[in-house]
Structures are given as C-alpha cells and as structure tokens.
C-alpha cells in the first residue's frame, strides 16, 4: 500500500483516510444497530395490519384450515362459512400484493411449528409469469430473515446482493417507519378490521365486465414454477389436504393463461384438486358481487365461500 508514492504526505493521507473511514463505518454500524433494534422491537409489537397478520401467520396460528395467497385470498375467504361447514378452525394468511414466494415462506414457517389439516392456496391469473416486481415484493419477508432460518433461501432470491444488504439492521424495515409507528399507537384502531385474517371489501362494482386477452409478457418463470411444486410437495409430505383454487374474477379471459395451464397440470400430476372459478358465470354475470374486477366484495366472498366449502365437503366424501 505504501508503494503508492514515496512522499510522506501521501502515506500520511492513506493512513488518515483508512483510519477515519473505519471510524465512520463503526459509527454508522452502531447507529444502524441501535435504530434497527428499536424498529425490530416495535415491528413485532404491532397488534393490527398486514405486518401483524404476517407475524401471526408465521409464528402463532395453529388453525386447522389455512388460506394462503394474495389480496384475492385475503378478501375472498371469510372464516365463519368454512368454520361452520367444514368444522375446522380457520385463519386467512393471504396478504395483498404477494406472490408464490411469500405463500411458500409462510407455509414453511407454519410447518416448522405445526401441521394444518387443510391448506387452500388461492392461485392468481398470470401467477407464474416472469416479473421483477414479484421478486421485489419479497421485501415483506425481510424482517423475518434473522429469526426464520427456514425462509432465508427464499428471501435471498430477491437479489444477488440481499445477504450483503441484510448486514444492515435497518434495511429489513426500510420504508416501514410510519407503518410501524401507526401499528404501535392509537392510530392502529383506524385500520380496517380483520376477521381471523380475512378483510372484507364493501364496494359494489357497477361497470361492464373487462376483457383480457392475455397480451403482454407471457414468459413462464421456472423459479416460481419450482416453488409452486415445492409448495405442493411440502403439503403432500405432511399429509395436508391441499386445494389450489382460482377464485372468481369479473374479467373475461379470452385466452387461457399459460401459468394456469401449467399449475393445473402440476396439480393433476400430484393428485391435488385444482378448482377454477375464474370463468364461473354465477359471478361473471354479477358485478354487484365485486369490489373491483379482481376482488369480490363481502357479499360475493360469502357466496363463493359457501360454494367452495360445499365442493370441499363433496370431495371429502
């Protein structure tokens, strides 16, 4: 290092630079650890909201029947119908904006603690299609990286540098400061209430049915396909009764989605029932059962849940 130049000033500058840089890095790391610890403490102290429900799903629930999936899972599966018709305890672990990475991570954490009897996986149209945003959404699992070893490989799929970023104690809670603050104050009472994880929607859709020809990116992501397969295998190896369900849309799909075909084939190969309600006319002719084209409202969710519970009961017999 001292060969850089023979002049003393340069040597002094090099030493001074590295010494001060080291001091600065130590200072940053100390502040990072302090703030990160405070954020971690308050993150896990939340008693409502999406983040609380993720923590509850991964660390506390012992329900017999678990619903996994995105917002469509979260808003389409009310607990009372399933509890009554299937006589099973229930928790809806669906979370808005999530994809197969999240569903599998939550399942893995649950399986580490206990084995549910039934799992309903809500499968979205284009679920297995490539998309950077799907990997970006893994960020919702970052707070669990430190304490949930079983999901680390899934989180590391987010980017090649994720391990490095997670050297910071603040990073897992990036952009989460105000959400954590709300979750720890009186303001959390203003949040939409959930019923065993289920959050009902209330609007009534009034517009005509949308057409979707499936144009755009249709390339299948093999990583997501493999995770879907692993999800099925884990359920089967633990003798969990798994149902993969495509719940209703108020969208007319003019071309069959390639990821739906793949998912159905994989499910069939593993003798897992795949129940497709995406074109069910008892919903597609009733905009009043929807909150928006992709989400049923509470009335629609109740009808759908009854229909699905009957179907499950029938298949059990």
């Amino acid at each position: 290092m001292f060969m850089i130049t023979p002049e003393n000033k340069t040597t002094n500058d090099v030493l001074k630079f590295f010494l001060k840089l080291l001091l600065l890095l130590v200072m940053i790391k100390a502040i990072d650890m302090a703030i990160g610890s405070v954020l971690r403490h308050f993150y896990f102290r939340q008693s409502s909201g999406l983040e609380y429900r993720t923590t509850y799903s991964m660390e506390k629930t012992t329900a017999d029947l678990i619903v996994l999936g995105s917002s469509r899972a979260n808003h389409h599966y009310p607990p009372d119908v399933f509890e009554k018709k299937l006589n099973l305890s229930f928790y809806n672990a669906g979370r808005d904006g999530e994809h197969i990475f999240y569903h599998y991570a939550v399942l893995k954490s649950m399986l580490k603690r206990y084995t549910p009897k039934v799992v309903l996986l809500d499968f979205n149209n284009a679920e297995l299609i490539q998309g950077k945003e799907k990997y970006d959404r893994i960020s919702s699992l970052l707070p669990y990286y430190k304490t949930h070893e079983e999901i680390r490989t899934l989180i590391e799929l987010k980017s090649p540098y994720e391990k490095l970023k997670l050297f910071s104690s603040i990073y897992p809670f990036n952009s989460d400061l105000f959400t954590i603050a709300i979750g720890n104050t009186e303001a959390n009472k203003n949040r939409d209430p959930d019923f065993k994880g289920y959050v009902p929607l209330s609007r009534k859709w009034k517009e005509a049915i949308q057409q979707n020809n499936g144009a755009g990116n249709t390339a299948i992501d093999t990583v997501q396909v493999n995770i879907y397969k692993a999800f099925i295998n884990d359920c089967l190896s633990r003798k969990i009764k798994l149902y993969v369900i495509c719940s209703p849309y108020f969208i007319q799909f003019t071309n069959v989605d390639s990821s739906l075909i793949i998912a159905k084939n994989i499910a069939a190969q593993n003798h897992v029932p795949f129940l497709d309600y995406s074109g069910d006319t008892s919903f597609t002719k009733h905009p009043e059962l929807f909150d928006d084209p992709s989400h049923l409202n509470a009335d629609g969710a109740k009808i759908f849940a009854n229909k699905l519970a009957d179907e499950i009961n029938k298949s059990e017999k």
Partner: protein, 476 residues
C-alpha cells in the same frame, strides 16, 4: 452498469484502488479498460458504435490540425456528419419513420418507411456531443489534436461521465489524463461526500417521488387536477434529484481519482428567471448549445428577429436532443418561448414591478420571481414527463381545473416524499443563501461532520427506495 447498484459499488472500489496502486504511466490504460467494461455492462455490442465514432474523430482531429482552408472544414464536416449520422440513425430514425408514415397515410399514400427494431445505445447523445466538442475545438484552434489514440478514446469513454455527462470539453478533461494525481485525503473525502449526497438525492428523493409520479402520469385520465398538480410538483423535484444526483455521483467518482469535471447543476430552482434557470440546469449541455450552436448561428449579435429565432431554435433542438418524441420538442419550444417572451416583455415587467411596488422590497421581489420561474418550469415539465401529447394536454386541462380529491394510496409514501424534498431544500437553501454560516456537513469538528454523514446514510437505509416493489400498490 447503473450508479445506484452494488455492481457499481464493487466496480468503483476496485478501479479506484487499482488506480492508486498502479504506476502513473499505466493509469490511463486502467481507466480505459474499466470504462469499456462499464459501458459493455449495458449492451456489449454497442461498444462497436463508440469505437467507430472514436476512430473517425481521432483521425478527423489530426487531419483538421494538419490541414488548412477548405480541407480543414471538410474534415470537420466529415466528423460532424459521422457523429450526427450515428445519433440520428439510432435515436431518431424510428421517430422519423413513424411521422413520415403518418403523413403518407394522411395524404392517402400507401408508401411506408420501415420501422426498425433498434435499441438506443446508452448515453449516445452524451458521448456524441462530447466527441463533437473535441473536433470543433480542434477546428477552432482552441485545442491541439490528441495523438495518443488511447488517451483520446478515454476522453470519450471516461466512465464517470460516459453515459449521462457532464458533457466535457477537451480543454478541461484531456490534459487531466496526463496529470499525476496523488492520494489526497481532503480531495478523496470531498469526492466521497459528493457521491453520498448524489445517492441520497437519487434513492431517497427521486426514486421515492417516481412512485407517485409514475402512478399518476401513466394514467392521467383516472386522476384529478389536484393529484396531477401534486404529481407535477413532485416530478420537478424527481427530475432534478435524479439527474443532479447522477451528476454528483459522476463528479464525485472522478474527484476521488483527482479528475475535476465541470459543475452540471447549480440549485436551478432558486433561479429568478428562465434565463438564469438555464444557466443553473444541465450546465454542460446548455453551454454546449451556447458555444457550438447559438454562437454559430450569430447569437445575439444579429437583427432582433433573428436573435429570437436563434434562441427559439436552440431550445427546440435541445428538446429534441432529450428524446425522439413530440413531447420533448414541445418542452424545448416552451422554454424557447419563455426566453423570447422574457426579452420582449422585459420593459413592461419592470414597469409592473414599479407599479406594484415589488421593486422596493428586494427580498419579496426575489421570492416572487423564484416562485414564478419554478411554476413556469413545472408547466414545461408536464410535456417532458407526459407519455404523449394528448396526455400532456389532458394533464394541463385537469391541473387548471384544480378539482377533485387527492390520490393518496399510502400516506407514508407522501410523508417520505415531503421529508426528502424538505431536506433537499434545507441543504440547497443553506448553500445558496447562508454559505458562511453553520454547517453540519463541513463542520470543523470531525465528529459533528461525520455524524451528519452517518445520519445521511441512516436516512438512505430508512427511507431509500431499494427496489420497485413499492410501485405495485400504487397502480391499483
């Protein structure tokens, strides 16, 4: 390779370390190889285009220097045609074909110009303009032709400013590759501070504001006037922080190794009029157009109507330089119009200032002018950001009705946005008006100084946008 990536961080550390470890005589070679690698991290094959123009301009420089009279001009024209030709083909061919086809169709003609599947090489407009400044300066006799092909290539390809400027001049940059820069603590610390501030502007402010701006500007028909007004205000800061943040990282990276690149932004939103705005905004491009186009057209040493024409045409071309879309052309035209209008109404505005008594209160007058200039630039930004002309006019129509509820999908998103803007304005205002007063970032006490920078890093970790994941829910 993007500046705000881990890939760049490792690249920068490796290149800088090697730069100081290697003997001086091979440093330029290290920088050239590194710059090639940096450029090829985008689309490798496009380096051939760069090599093509480098070869042309290298020989053009030597030939221009060795020739006289018409021959000298001939070699300059050859160089300019090659550079503008490459730029036109890659950047404007499809724009031209699209518009010609529209015209043919309008006149009922069946002829059509084919559309080509070509990808715009990264930073083409920047390095083409930098290359052109070299041959023009050699032609004007302001700069000697560079005989070392490697050094000339490095002038065009120097990685910190290769893809987004500042657009350098040979007088400033070329000789620096022959200067030996030792490891200097203060200079390196300054460079790293600039890089950190650039990252803050890009990751905390620009990328955060982009979430709101993209969600609204990509679907203007679904949003209210109030929402689009806020989005336009956000875009003004997004574009400033995005571009000046990139420039800060570029200038800082070069400074760490000893190179002094030109200032590209000088707190433009504190400008008191549009003319001053353009002296503070993207300075390397504004001065390029001034030195090589505006003055060549006669500048202001011509008849008044011609002077107006010169101003207008320069801004029109500047708009087109930014992108092959009518929105950019209109953005340039609006700025040209602002300047011409300001000159025409200069006396009238002075009278109005006297009439209203504004001139008696210099602080109020200054604040008023700054706000008006900011609002005018915001209006022009609508065209710059809108996806097409129709969207731009729809946004303007809605903005002027200023009605409807404000779209706030996630309140914390807006809080982060305003927090970032507040920090930026605080720092910029401090630099602009209170230079000599207390400073956290340049405090004499090492602990205060470094605690300030540590805080900046912590804010980046807390509030920075590290992925596009947060875009999704805004689109619903």
């Amino acid at each position: 390779m993007l500046f705000d990536s881990f890939q760049f961080l490792f690249f920068f550390l490796a290149v800088t370390t090697l730069y100081f470890v290697l003997p001086f005589r091979v440093r330029w070679f290290l920088l050239l190889i590194s710059s090639c690698y940096f450029y090829m991290a985008f689309v490798p094959i496009y380096i051939l285009i760069l090599i093509f123009t480098i070869i042309i301009d290298y020989f053009a420089g030597i030939f221009i220097e060795g020739a006289s009279g018409a021959k000298r001009k001939f070699f300059l024209i050859c160089s300019l045609v090659a550079n503008i030709g490459v730029l036109s083909f890659f950047k404007y061919y499809n724009f031209l074909s699209q518009n010609l086809n529209f015209l043919f169709h309008s006149f009922g003609l069946t002829t059509s110009v084919p559309y080509l599947q070509i990808l715009l090489p990264i930073g083409l407009s920047f390095h083409t303009f930098q290359a052109m400044s070299y041959t023009i300066e050699v032609y004007r006799g302001h700069e000697a032709a560079e005989k070392n092909f490697g050094i000339y290539s490095l002038y065009v390809m120097f990685y910190p400013q290769l893809v987004a400027g500042p657009i350098e001049r040979p007088q400033n940059l070329l000789h620096q590759f022959r200067t030996k820069y030792p490891f200097d603590y203060d200079r390196i610390a300054d460079g790293l501070k600039m890089i950190l501030w650039g990252f803050f502007k890009k990751i905390v402010i620009a990328d955060r504001l982009a979430i709101y701006v993209n969600a609204t500007y990509n679907h203007p028909q679904e949003h209210t006037g109030l929402t689009l007004t806020l989005a336009t205000f956000f875009f003004a800061f997004q574009i400033y922080c995005d571009f000046s943040g990139y420039s800060d990282i570029a200038i800082g990276s070069a400074k760490v190794m000893g190179f002094k690149l030109m200032t590209n932004f000088n707190r433009p939103y504190f400008a008191k009029n549009i003319s001053e705005f353009w002296k503070r905004w993207h300075i390397s491009l504004s001065t390029w157009f001034r030195d090589y186009l505006y003055i060549s057209l006669g500048g202001n040493r011509v008849a008044v109507p011609r002077w107006y024409f010169n101003l207008f045409i320069v801004f029109l071309i500047s708009g087109l330089w930014h992108g092959a879309n009518w929105t950019y052309v209109l953005w340039g035209a609006i700025n040209g119009f602002y300047l011409v209008f300001a000159i025409i109404t200069h006396q009238l505005r002075s009278k109005l200032d006297k009439l209203t008594g504004l001139n008696k209160n210099p602080k109020l007058h200054k604040a008023f002018n700054i706000i008006i200039t900011f609002l005018l630039s915001c209006f022009a930004w609508i065209f710059f950001r809108a996806n097409n002309i129709d969207d731009a006019f729809l946004i303007i129509k809605k903005v002027f009705t200023f009605k409807g509820p404000l779209f706030i999908q996630n309140p914390s998103m807006v809080i982060y946005s305003f927090t970032g803007i507040f920090i930026l304005l605080f720092v910029d205002m401090k630099k602009e008006y209170y230079k000599g007063s207390f400073s956290f970032f340049n405090h004499q006490n090492w602990w205060v100084r470094n605690l300030s920078y540590a805080t900046l890093v912590i804010i980046i970790l807390l509030m920075g946008v590290f992925d596009g994941g947060q875009f999704i829910y805004f689109q619903f």
